[in-house]
Amino acid sequence: MSKILETKNLSKKYFAKKALNNVNLTLSKGKVLGLLGPNGSGKTSFIKILAGILTSSSGEVYIDGFKPGVETKSIVSYLPDRNFLYNWMKVKDSIKFFDDFYQDFNLEKANNLLEFMKLNKGDKISTLSKGMLEKLNLTLVLSREAKLYILDEPIAGVDPAAREKILDAIINNHNEESSMIITTHLVTDIERIFDRVAFIDHGEIVLNENAEDIRVSKEKSINDLFKEVFNYA
């Protein structure tokens, strides 16, 4: 099977409010999808359904052929858009925590990434800067040998130098066996690593294309197209 993700008419309602409306999206194995949309467009709701944290109101989701649940959680590595570590932990505790929790956690990879990110094992989580914390969260998520990585805003709120490091880590850890979904509103910095791009607006997919095809047919960068579609100044 060549699809890592398939959704059919996926919808999510919060009481009367529609967060996702009939989302049909597929992703082939080994590809990187950029899921782009403004705040409140439904990106995070979509991702949380894939991660098995939220349930859909209607429609279907298949990750590597499975509905979200125990099987998918073991093959999906999810980076939430906020810190998920306890403040009492030290960096090394967080590594141990992940190592205990996930069978596919690769300790060697984690140690290499820690070094690459210049994170000290003895540092307390509560003393890390925002950029360092983001790097640590990403290190943990990328150190799993997952089939699908879902990264929610991996570069939001970090300085350009940290952004570079994070992008390097993402690229170096991508291979033909793994797929990725990355959401962001900082499109310029990251658009060169997308195979496909999907725009989401008010819970609907308004565009879903190959990144290079967009550049060929529209003669625009994805960032420019993003601004145009979402009416930025």
């Binding site: 060169r192 290079e212 960068s221």
Partner: protein, 123 residues
């Protein structure tokens, strides 16, 4: 490697141009091994599938070839490289002439100016 990409132009074409430039300049010589997809991807911070596409296209244009299990190499055909050099030179000249004509010079003026400039540079 610090390369500024123009995100408006397909990235795979820009990477092809980069490699072509190296071939023309002689930085990559005929028969030289090209960097792997992985190396290029992490150096240029570009999706590996895009790199793959660039290299495939270079092969299709006859400028590179794959040796199974060993990697990709610059063509050993000197004629191909010469052809590439001439093509790129032609592009430069055409865009130069176009630019000059747009600002009102005729062919004779252009030739004279180029000649004078080259002579001045050589002296």
């Amino acid at each position: 490697m610090d390369i500024k990409f123009d995100n408006k132009i397909p990235i795979y074409i820009q990477i092809m141009d980069l490699i072509k430039k190296d071939i023309i300049k002689g930085k990559s010589k005929e028969g030289d091994q090209l960097p792997s997809v992985r190396e290029l991807s992490s150096d240029l911070k570009v999706n590996p599938n895009t790199i793959q596409r660039s290299l495939r296209e270079l092969e299709r244009e006859g400028l590179a070839y794959t040796q199974r299990g060993k990697g990709r190499f610059v063509t050993e055909d000197k004629e191909e490289i010469k052809k590439l050099k001439n093509e790129v030179a032609k592009e430069h000249i055409e865009s130069f002439i176009k630019g000059m004509k747009q600002i009102g010079f005729n062919s004779k003026d252009i030739i004279k100016m180029v000649k004078d400039n080259i002579e001045k540079e050589e002296n």
